[in-house]
């Protein structure tokens, strides 16, 4: 029981030490602060703007099941393309 308690304490201590390592590392950053700002702004633009408004997945936006997607792609590669008018982003079939 004592060993178990010591084990829990030492693993908690290790977790705290790792956490402190990261917190302290981030706190001491100099150029890193600017870089993190660049990374966060970039990720925001990519995921909250580009992905959301301009880069919807073409098939996901139009079909719900894999079979529907498979049928559509099969149609695309076997049927003459003139029968399929080009679409605007997010347009309906």
């Amino acid at each position: 029981m004592i060993t178990e308690a010591m084990g829990k304490r030492s693993s908690r201590t290790l977790a705290v030490r790792v956490l402190e390592f990261y917190i302290d590392g981030f706190r001491r950053m100099t150029v890193g602060r600017t870089l993190w700002k660049v990374i966060l702004i970039k990720l925001f633009i990519m995921f909250a703007v580009l992905k959301l408004f301009f880069f919807q997945d073409f098939l996901d936006a139009r079909f719900t099941t894999d079979q529907q997607k498979a049928d559509y792609v099969l149609e695309q590669i076997t049927a003459p393309v003139q029968a399929q008018p080009a679409l605007q982003q997010g347009g309906e079939l």
Binding site: G25, F26, V38, L50, D57, F58, L59, D66
Partner: protein
């Protein structure tokens, strides 16, 4: 079928992908290569305990951090593009790419969350040995994560270990080992990583040369140069060796690419390699114009490169387009016919399955199977459509090769004058050294063009042309996002360059 495709949309989607990939490719090779050199610097510090080596290591680590931060996640944009602009392709390759890209993502996450943090935050806070171990793990891990992307890319160039499932319209993986140990993947990985090491060595030489010219951080610059030049020289040899392997793989699996980047229209025995020449960009396949305004060839070398045998026959563009019965080469016209049979049988299979006619479905599937390896050709309108842009492929290949020949001489010169102890007096060499980074970047981007433009018109070699891989979108939609990316990438590049230049001007003492 292809005449009905909206070519403007395909061109804009390709331009957008090229823009994204080439921008991403500014950062990736430096990240892959410089981690090794930093690991060597760090090892020397741990062995010697010298504070000067420690400052040197921290300085290059900081520049690496800037490059990594600006470059990180730019590759994700390509995944957005796959889903939006290239949805047919995305759907068809999902089963093949799922595993490698998932492994890459998980490996990158754990690497970045653990060893990156220890490498950057660990100074004086973890043991020297564990810190050094982390630096090496960053080098090994980042290069290993590149394996999976290159496996995916190599599969598009040489689609092995797969079979097309006509029910799901997907290429399904049948043999993971075949995909991972695809000979094209092996040559791509070794060529890319060794070229990245060479590029990182040039980056270090450029900045160190600048310091020596300015008379600043002289000791650090000289030490940085010696290690970088030794690694760069070794990497140069390996780049040459793996480049030879890459050309051999091209000859075996993508002979049209090899013919295009050598401007070889008429196949021949004992074919020569163009050492220097100006290609005639007005030449069209099948016309009588001379392919070159002038050229100097080294006899027999192309045959050796392509087949590992002097005097052997290397097919030219005309042989591959129009066929060469004497050499047993099937022309693109015959492949188009077989491809059209494959598509027609795919359509017949689809209809028979829908109608519940099992016998007809089986018959259609059997005929499809006999012609499936030519599937992609069925989408081409005419044999000449199987030819990539020859001028661009030729110029990109020769820029890459010429620069790749100059770099080892540069490393040798830096090592020679370092050995003589007169490097700081060689202003001409240092001035040249400052631009080496840009030449290295040009060589890398040219290499990307050779690999990706040279394989046109294929998204997947012989199986899926880019005109069919695309989404059914209007050109205007893709144009809008192209210019958005152009602006975003320009801003990010300006941000990187300004942060990087500021740190270079501060130098290592301020760390």
């Amino acid at each position: 079928m292809i005449e009905n495709v909206n070519p403007a949309m395909v061109d804009w989607a390709r331009a957008q992908f090229a823009l994204t990939a080439m921008y991403h490719w500014i950062f990736v090779p430096l990240t892959l290569g410089i981690t090794w050199i930093i690991a060597f610097y760090h090892t020397i510090y741990v062995k010697t305990g010298s504070e000067e080596w420690k400052n040197l290591t921290r300085f290059w680590m900081k520049l690496f951090g800037i490059n990594f931060a600006i470059g990180v996640a730019t590759g994700i944009i390509m995944e957005f593009e796959f889903g939006t602009n290239w949805s047919n392709y995305s759907w068809m390759v999902g089963d093949i790419f799922g595993a490698p890209l998932a492994i890459e993502g998980i490996a990158a996450f754990f690497l970045e969350a653990t060893f990156f943090a220890v490498m950057f935050f660990g100074w004086n806070r973890v043991s020297k040995r564990f810190h050094l171990f982390s630096t090496w793990m960053v080098a090994i891990g980042s290069n290993l994560s590149a394996v999976w992307i290159l496996v995916a890319n190599a599969w598009m160039q040489h689609p092995v270990g797969q079979a097309f499932n006509p029910q799901t319209a997907r290429f399904e993986m049948h043999n993971f080992a075949d995909v991972v140990f695809n000979p094209v993947a092996v040559s791509k990985f070794t060529h890319t990583t060794s070229a990245s090491m060479l590029f990182a060595a040039l980056f270090i030489i450029s900045i160190s040369s600048y310091y020596l010219l300015k008379g600043r951080h002289v000791k650090m610059a000289k030490r940085s140069i010696v290690v970088a030049a030794v690694i760069g020289l070794l990497a140069s040899g390996f780049v040459g060796f793996t480049g030879d392997e890459a050309a051999y793989e091209d000859a075996q699996h993508q002979p049209m690419k090899l013919a295009a980047f050598e401007g070889l229209y008429q196949g021949k025995k004992n074919a020569g390699l163009v050492a220097f020449g100006m290609i005639n960009s007005g030449k069209k396949v099948g016309d009588d114009q001379d392919p070159f305004h002038f050229e100097i060839r080294v006899p027999g070398i192309l045959s050796m490169l392509a087949n590992r045998k002097f005097g052997s026959f290397v097919p030219g563009i005309n042989d591959l387009v129009y066929g060469n019965a004497e050499q047993g080469i099937m022309g693109a016209a015959e492949k188009i016919e077989k491809g059209r049979v494959a598509i027609a049988q795919l359509d017949a299979y689809k209809k028979a399955t829908k109608a519940g006619d099992a016998a007809s479905a089986q018959a259609a599937l059997s005929l499809f199977d006999q012609n499936r390896e030519y599937l992609g050709y069925g989408f081409l309108e005419k044999p000449e459509d199987a030819v990539p842009p020859v001028g661009l492929s030729f110029n990109a290949f020769h820029v890459m090769v010429v620069l790749g020949t100059i770099f080892p001489l540069v490393f040798l010169a830096f090592l020679y004058y370092s050995y003589r102890g007169t490097l700081a007096e060689q202003k001409w060499l240092l001035a040249g050294g400052t631009i080496m980074f840009f030449l290295g970047l040009a060589a890398h981007e040219a290499g990307w063009i050779v690999a990706e433009v040279g394989r046109q018109p294929w998204a997947i070699q012989d199986l899926l042309p880019v005109t069919v891989a695309r989404s059914n979108l209007t050109a205007g939609t893709v144009q809008t996002t192209f210019f958005m990316f152009l602006i975003l990438f320009t801003i990010l590049l300006v941000a990187e360059v300004s942060i990087m230049l500021k740190q270079i001007s501060i130098g290592p003492e301020e760390n």
